[in-house]
Amino acid sequence: MKPYLVQLMMIFFAIVCGSMKAMAFPDMMRHGYANCSTCHASPAGGGLLNSYGRSLSGELLSTWKSKNEEQPLHGAVSISDFVMEKYFFGGDVRYLSRRTKDPRKKVDEGFLMQTQLRFGLALEKLKFLMSIGKIENPRQSQEVKWVSSEYYFIWNVKEEVYLRAGRFEPIFGLRMPDHNLWVKSDVSLVPWLERDTIELMVEGEKLFLSLAGFQSTSKVATVQQATGYAATASWIWNEKLRFGSSAMNSEGQGNRTKALSFHNTYAFSTKAYSHFEFTRVWNNDSIKEVGFFRVGREIVKGFTPLLQAQARLLHKPSASNQWKQGAGIIWLPRPHFEIMAVYEEMHYKREDSSELNLLFHYYL
């Protein structure tokens, strides 16, 4: 059988047999949800869902649902709306199965990437949010350390102004959850590089602004430690296009990095969308550019085939550029469950390789 047929069958098998719900969906703009705070406990998006976000995961995002299935513990325990508005509870389990293949070798691996419990408390103008659970090096050990890698408070200073401080990743770029995208990994926006951050956010009907200052925690390896700031501004045009720009500057241990990004999400309709991000990174005397493009079309409620491409261009005489392009699906069969399968072919130094990533995500 031809290799691509095997890969397609693997994707199909994963879709049919697997199960798992995601949290950060910048493409929700196609349904009128231009900002994150409608569905998430934090206006920055991601992490804990609020009660409305949970409800929407069943009503709008999932292929099937039964009554109260989107509630914590799948609705097994009845919790009043009052309690749900004061307290947040959730968690994430992400498992990645990956096949990489190049002319010399084929590697199959599977590992637990994330096991986290999340808690939150909402007072009148204040929210306290935290996660517990960390897998330090998923490829080497599946041991979960029950420590907190993310915790912060959010103060709703005015109706549209928020200040948050604590341990979290600053806002930069599209705010996609996939940290393995080059546009995230190449600016060190990865969960294992913990930062203590203070961030101001302004969330308007057509404008979103954020300004953050951050410093690596002492748990980060000395060579990766950095202190810096990040800023993002996004505009929403005609409820269809969110266009933004982000900038980041960080310094530490002889490293000085600057990044400038332009990004957008376009809603063609309530079913189709695209994401685009281009980032230029200056690191000491080297310069690289990373790009990402994804287009998705929901064909059945909760089931979205997608095409995506990534590029990494290095401005060095001896360096080679890298390209990846591929196709995949995002499927939210039921509330709490997400499956993402993406097959990409990569070109690097005149050599072709391929990568199939199957991500199973369970949201508690």
Binding site: H31, G32, Y33, A34, N35, C36, S37, T38, C39, P43, N50, S51, Y52, S55, L56, E59, L60, D81, M84, E85, E159, E203, G204, E205, E239, T270
Partner: protein, 185 residues
């Protein structure tokens, strides 16, 4: 007798001249937009498989009209939201339709031959309450399409401010009514 005949002819003639034209709706759409907070959520609703029924009469250079729309045919794209909107807020069991009565607007036969925009005022019956509304409308001569836009405040119609799981919808709703007209047979 002569006098009676003259009066009758005058009255008949007047009636003929007075009912210059009547346009009836044969297609259209109702749309609305409301904003929810937090996050400036845009809620868009529109009619599904139905349109406002009614007609516009032009009498002595004055156009007026009556339209009625069945609220059960509104759709916001989310089933549960539709259910809340219709059952809890619009209470369509008790108040199934919305009616808009357009107050006379000066429109000449000549004006109807080209596109124009005008202001209008009307009385909207919604949720059992009649309240004055005002807005603008555009008329397209070629298609005989009328697009009327007006804002309404749900509290004016004794409709509670919609709230659901921490999301509160603004009480101001932008409304747009498209009516495709044709000559009444």
């Amino acid at each position: 007798m002569k006098k009676l005949v003259s009066i009758s002819i005058f009255i008949l003639g007047f009636q003929y001249a007075a009912v210059a034209s009547s346009l009836v709706a044969n297609a259209g759409e109702v749309k609305f937009t409301a904003i929810g907070k937090p996050g400036f959520l845009k809620i868009h609703g529109q009619s599904k498989g139905d349109f406002p029924k009614g007609e516009i009469q032009i009498l002595n250079g004055q156009a007026s009209g009556d339209f009625e729309f069945n609220l059960k045919n509104l759709d916001t794209g989310i089933e549960l939201r539709n259910e809340h909107m219709k059952e809890k807020y619009l209470e369509i069991g008790k108040f199934p339709t919305a009616k808009l009565k357009i107050e006379p607007i000066a429109v000449s036969e000549e004006e109807l031959k080209s596109d124009f925009s005008k202001k209008f005022q009307g009385q909207l019956l919604l949720h059992g309450v009649t309240k004055g509304v005002s807005g603008n409308f555009d008329y397209q001569a070629k298609t005989k399409n009328v697009v009327a836009k007006f804002n309404l405040k749900v509290s004016d119609f004794n409709i509670a401010v919609p709230q659901y799981l921490g999301v509160t919808v603004s009480e101001n709703v932008e409304t747009e009514v498209l009516v495709k007209l044709k000559d009444k047979e």
